[in-house]
C-alpha cells in the first residue's frame, strides 16, 4: 500500500478536490434551483398568504380546502382518464407502426420523417390548428362526418367528447417520438427469432405479440414510465384549447397541473397551488412505484 507516502496522499486529496470542482456547478445549481424549492413548496402548502407576498405557516388548511373543492376531484379524475387512455393507446399504435416500418420496404426514411413532424412543432401552434379542425360548425372533421352522412359533434364542448379530443391531439403529438425509440429497439431483435417463427408459419400479428413485444419490453416499459409521468403533467393542450377558467368543456378536461397553473399564476393563490402540486407529485410517485413493482412481471431483460 502506498497510502502512507505523503505524495500519494496528496495526490488522493488533489483528486478529491478535482472531483468537487467538477460536480460543484451542477450540485450547487440543483440545490438552489431544485432542492431548496421543494422545501419551500412543501412549507408553502401548509401556509397562508400574508401581505407583500409573504407566507405564514398555518397548518393543513390548503389540504382541507382541496378536499372540498369540486374542481380538484374532477381535475384528478380528468388527469387519470387522460393518462390511462392516451398513454396505452399511443404506445399500442406506435408499436404497430414501428413494427410496420421495420419490415423490408422502401421509403421508411420518408415515413419516419413525416411521423416525427408533430414532435418538432410548437405545442401552441399545433393545438390551434387542431382547435380549428374540431370546430363544431365548420371544422374539417365535422364536415367530413356530415359528408359521410353522420351528424357533427361538439368535439371540444360536449362533455362526452371533450376529453377524447384532447387525447387524440396528445397521441398525435407523441407518436413520432415513441416510434423512433421502438424502431431502435426492434432493429436490435435478432432475425433468427423471426426466421424460426416463419418456419412455424406464424402470422404477423402473432410474431408482433409473441416475439417483438417481449423482446422490446424494456423499451415499452421506458415509454410507459416517461409517458405516464408526462401525461400526468398535461397542461399545454388543455390550456391552448380552453384557456384559463370558463370555457365550456374545461370542466371535463381540466387537469391537475392546469388547475395548479391557474391557481398559482391567475388566481394568485400560491399556497393553495403549492398544495395542489404536492398532490400531483404524490400521484406521480404512486404511478412510478406501481410501475417499478409491476415491471418484474412482464418486462423481459435479455442479460
Amino acid at each position: 500500500m502506498s497510502a502512507g507516502r505523503p505524495s500519494a496522499a496528496n495526490k488522493k486529496y488533489a483528486d478529491w478536490a478535482w472531483g468537487y470542482f467538477f460536480v460543484a456547478p451542477t450540485v450547487i445549481g440543483l440545490i438552489i434551483l431544485n432542492i431548496y424549492p421543494i422545501f419551500i413548496t412543501l412549507i408553502m402548502s401548509f401556509s397562508k398568504s400574508a401581505q407583500f407576498g409573504k407566507f405564514k405557516v398555518s397548518g393543513p388548511e390548503n389540504y382541507i380546502k382541496l378536499l372540498s373543492d369540486p374542481e380538484v376531484g374532477a381535475a384528478i379524475r380528468n388527469t387519470l382518464v387522460f393518462t390511462l387512455t392516451s398513454v396505452p393507446v399511443g404506445i399500442v399504435i406506435s408499436l404497430v407502426l414501428a413494427a410496420l416500418m421495420c419490415q423490408k420496404i422502401r421509403g421508411v426514411g420518408t415515413y419516419r420523417v413525416i411521423y416525427f413532424m408533430p414532435v418538432i412543432a410548437a405545442p401552441a401552434a399545433v393545438a390551434m390548428v387542431w382547435r380549428l379542425m374540431y370546430n363544431t360548425d365548420y371544422g374539417v372533421l365535422n364536415q367530413v362526418l356530415r359528408a359521410m352522412g353522420f351528424q357533427g359533434i361538439s368535439w371540444l364542448s360536449d362533455s362526452r367528447y371533450a376529453m377524447m379530443s384532447v387525447v387524440i391531439t396528445a397521441i398525435w403529438g407523441g407518436l413520432g417520438q415513441q416510434i423512433i425509440i421502438l424502431i431502435g429497439a426492434i432493429t436490435n431483435v435478432s432475425h433468427s427469432y423471426y426466421e424460426a417463427a416463419d418456419i412455424d408459419g406464424a402470422s404477423s400479428a402473432r410474431k408482433l405479440w409473441s416475439i417483438t413485444v417481449p423482446l422490446v419490453s424494456p423499451s415499452i416499459f421506458f415509454l410507459l414510465i416517461t409517458g405516464l409521468i408526462g401525461a400526468l403533467k398535461q397542461f399545454d393542450i388543455v390550456y391552448m384549447f380552453y384557456g384559463k377558467r370558463t370555457a365550456p368543456g374545461l370542466g371535463d378536461t381540466r387537469t391537475l397541473i392546469h388547475k395548479y397553473y391557474v391557481e398559482a399564476f391567475d388566481v394568485l393563490d400560491k399556497t393553495y397551488a403549492s398544495a395542489l402540486v404536492m398532490v400531483a407529485f404524490l400521484i406521480i410517485l404512486v404511478f412510478t412505484v406501481i410501475q417499478f413493482i409491476g415491471q418484474k412481471k412482464w418486462v423481459y431483460y435479455d442479460d
Partner: protein
C-alpha cells in the same frame, strides 16, 4: 410466394401512407387556412383550396406580434440552455463517473431526486427568485430553470462510464491533470452524446409553454410558443391570421428539422426524451 410478399408490402405501404396523411394533415391544413379569407375558413360545405392566396393574413400576423424578437428570444433561450447543459452536465458527469471522492453517491442522489420530482414543484419558488432578482421579462428568466440540467448530468454520466479506463490511466502517467483529461480526451469521445443532449435540450426548451408565460408578460420578451398562446386571444376573430402566425412559428423549425433530421432523430433515440 413472391406474390404474397409483394402484396404484403403493398398492404404495409397503404397502412403507413394513411397514417402519414393523418400525421401531416394538420400542417397542411394550417398552411391552407393561413391563405384563406375568414369566409372561406368558415364556409359550409368546406372550401379546401383558397380561391386566391391571401397573403394579407401574413401581413396581419406580422403586425400583431414582433416575430423577429420572438425568434431572437427563443433562439437565445435555447442557446443559453444548451451551453449550460453541455458545459455543467458534462463536467459533473465526468466527476461523478470517473473520480472517486467522499460524497460522490450522496451528491449524485440530488440529481436523481431532481429527475423524480415534477418540475412544477420548483416553479413558484423559481418564479419568486427571478422576481427578487428583478429579472422578470428578460431572456435570463427564460434560461433560468435550465441553468443546470439533472437529466444532462445523468445522461452524460452514463456515457462517461462506458469509456475504457486505460485511456485515462495513460494520460495520468503522462502527467495530464484532470481538466486536461476531461477536456482533451474524454469530451471529444462523447461528441455524439453531446449532440444528442443538445437536441434534447433544444426541443425541451422549444416546447416549454408554461414557464415562459409565467415569467415574461411583455410580448417583446416572449418565446414563439408563448407568443402564439397570447395571440390566440388577441387574434381570435381572424383565424387566417392566427394560422399564418402558427405557420411563421412552425415551418422554420420544420425546415431546420428537414435539414438535420439525422441529428434530431438520433438525439431522440439516444436520450429517449423525458
Amino acid at each position: 410466394m413472391e406474390n404474397t410478399k409483394a402484396r404484403g408490402s403493398i398492404v404495409i405501404h397503404i397502412a403507413l401512407i394513411i397514417g402519414a396523411i393523418v400525421m401531416a394533415f394538420p400542417f397542411l391544413w394550417m398552411l391552407l387556412t393561413s391563405l384563406k379569407t375568414q369566409g372561406e375558413i368558415s364556409a359550409v360545405p368546406i372550401v379546401v383550396l383558397p380561391s386566391a392566396f391571401r397573403w394579407e393574413n401574413y401581413q396581419k400576423a406580422l403586425d400583431s406580434a414582433p416575430y423577429l424578437l420572438l425568434y431572437k428570444n427563443t433562439i437565445l433561450m435555447i442557446i443559453g440552455r444548451i451551453i449550460c447543459a453541455l458545459l455543467f452536465s458534462s463536467m459533473s458527469a465526468y466527476g461523478f463517473a470517473r473520480i472517486s471522492f467522499p460524497g460522490n453517491n450522496l451528491l449524485f442522489s440530488i440529481v436523481i431526486i431532481q429527475m423524480m420530482v415534477p418540475a412544477e414543484i420548483f416553479m413558484i419558488p423559481q418564479y419568486q427568485m427571478v422576481s427578487k432578482l428583478n429579472l422578470l421579462n428578460s431572456v435570463f428568466a427564460l434560461i433560468f430553470p435550465g441553468l443546470v440540467s439533472a437529466f444532462g448530468a445523468f445522461f452524460m454520466r452514463q456515457q462517461f462510464m462506458s469509456l475504457p479506463y486505460e485511456l485515462e490511466e495513460a494520460a495520468i502517467l503522462d502527467g495530464c491533470n484532470r481538466w486536461q483529461i476531461y477536456s482533451r480526451i474524454m469530451l471529444p469521445l462523447t461528441k455524439s452524446a453531446m449532440v444528442s443532449l443538445a437536441v434534447f435540450t433544444a426541443l425541451f426548451a422549444w416546447k416549454d409553454l408554461m414557464w415562459p408565460i409565467i415569467v415574461n408578460m411583455d410580448m417583446s420578451k416572449l418565446t414563439l410558443s408563448a407568443g402564439l398562446a397570447t395571440l390566440k386571444v388577441s387574434l381570435s376573430s381572424n383565424q387566417g391570421a392566427l394560422m399564418a402566425s402558427s405557420v411563421i412559428a412552425t415551418f422554420p423549425m420544420l425546415i431546420l428539422y428537414a435539414i438535420c433530421q439525422k441529428q434530431f432523430i438520433e438525439g431522440i433515440a439516444q436520450t429517449g426524451m423525458k
